[in-house]
Amino acid sequence: MKTLAHKLISVASGVPSIATGDIVICNVDLAMIHDSGGPRRVKPILERLNRSVWDKDKVVVVTDHYVPATNAETQAIQALTKEWVREQDIEKFYDEQGICHVVLPERGHLSPGKFCVGGDSHSPTGGAFGAYMFGIGATEMAGVLATGTIWIKVPETILIRWHNQLSPFVTAKDMMLATCRKIGMGGGRYQAIQFAGDAVRQLGMQDRMTLSNMAAELGAQAGLIAPDETTIDYIHKAGGIVPEDWRSYQIEAAETDDNLLSFDAAALAPQIAAPHSPANADDAEAFKNTRFDLAYIGACTGAKYVDLVAAASLLRGRRIAKGVTLKVAPASLNDQKRAEEEGIMQILQDAGAEFLGNSCGICAGYGDDRLSENQVCLSSTARNFKGRMGAASSAVYLASPYTVAASAIAGTMIDPRYVAEE
């Protein structure tokens, strides 16, 4: 088996020798849905098909998009979600516990060798655990829930190798913005991307999740990382089950030499992406003195425990600049609790941060917290499409939590290394 993607799909499909481009039917080990694309959309379809979920133990439901539910419409969505979960007798239901992509591994549901689908485009996040995971829409999810299977065209693997070590204050987020800059939002061609190299091996699981998460921004189907001891440690601590044969998934190969990309982590500077595409990235230095109104640390991409720690390391003992607002929406309740216990939340609060709930928040633009007309936001999230986070006239720049925090202190955009040196 040449690539990790081939191996994962071969196991899921039961087809021993598969080739790139083959269309095969795979058995699904885990289907994850959230309150927006989940019950409210799949319930009527399953009723029309006269089917229940194929295996309730393989379904995970998370509420995160319409959280907090502040009006009649969103309250009705949450009520329907709870009712459906009861009706289908689904035990793996995480209500207002955080963003699905962070909650799923945190509760031990991901491990090497699994074949998973998620009703959300950032589902490639699961690939950080050596699982094949990709995002699908609600109708297709209903098909999965009814049949336990899904078709897939066996992808090529594009191997992205990061040599050497990252410099201090340069992160997984910068690696992904630099990759978007290099190959563009279509560069993944709906194939499987796999991250490898020394710089990737040195990252903890939440940072690796940031890499896999933003495989979505490259247009890839999946964002894989071969498992190692770091992966296995995380799963054990999360209470998950590690398959005995996990080492058989330690495969790192590209489809062909054309599908091999190499980057030097040591040469990477903090990145900022200008509106309205993550591919508009450049070194943070190029955006020096650019003004913004809101610094936002949020989302599955940029507000996990490690992201809060990064922001706090610069905000400790400092205050955000006048005229700038800093909002922080910790990606999960567990991550927030851990940050509280370690004094991280207090540091953020003392620096002037306001806190939002453990949900998709402003990133999805679904709720009351959204960008107003002409508001400019510097954000640790993944996507800066026109109007995504609020008004069509608003503008979003993307950066790492370090860069967002440093810029909030400086009052204009800045390479965080300047602030760290002060």
Binding site: I45, G137, G143, Y190
Partner: protein
């Protein structure tokens, strides 16, 4: 007469189905389709219209409403040099055919916004009526074409389940 809607901007899911209206019923969501870049689209698109965009159409979210609103507004097929993967699967699953066209073809001056068009799903052909030019699109893989002709994944599964039940009865 159905018309061609030609877009040069990157068409992402969030301009097709803006997040703030995702909680709303489909007709309201559809009324905001593409408003950030083409405010007249939702109110003037009609049955049988064809949408043509640049590469990587539908990039972004997994929200299938991005394809559903187009179908609701009457769009009969979407054409682009390439599609974002999830959006492509969603469109087919909802019975909205998505066809690829070589990027070089976008240079054809006749492929202009507002052109009168005729579309043949079975033959995968787009005809520009005024110029009497017919463009052959890359055909869908057979099983996806079947799904589109069935009306999407749900009617397709209904058919499959009915056939399976009928087979059981025979046995």
């Amino acid at each position: 007469m159905p018309r061609l809607w030609r877009f040069s901007e990157l068409i992402d899911t969030d301009v097709l189905a803006p997040g703030f209206y995702m909680k709303s019923p489909l007709p309201e969501l559809a009324s905001h389709c593409l408003e950030a870049i083409r405010p007249d689209f939702a109110s003037t698109a009609g049955q049988g219209d064809i949408m043509l965009s640049g590469p990587n159409m539908g990039v972004g979210s997994s929200r299938e409403q991005a394809a559903e609103v187009l179908k609701y507004l009457g769009v009969e097929a979407i054409i682009a040099p390439s599609f974002a993967g999830i959006f492509y699967r969603n469109a087919i699953n909802l019975g909205l055919p998505a066809f690829t066209i070589p990027e070089a073809s976008l240079e054809m001056p006749e492929l202009e916004d507002g052109a009168e068009v005729r579309f043949d799903l079975d033959a995968a052909e787009l005809t520009l009526v005024e110029h009497d030019i017919t463009i052959t699109l890359e055909p869908l893989p057979a099983f996806l074409k079947e799904m589109v002709l069935d009306g999407g994944l749900v009617p397709h599964l209904e058919k499959r389940f009915a056939n399976a039940a009928a087979e059981k009865d025979i046995i």
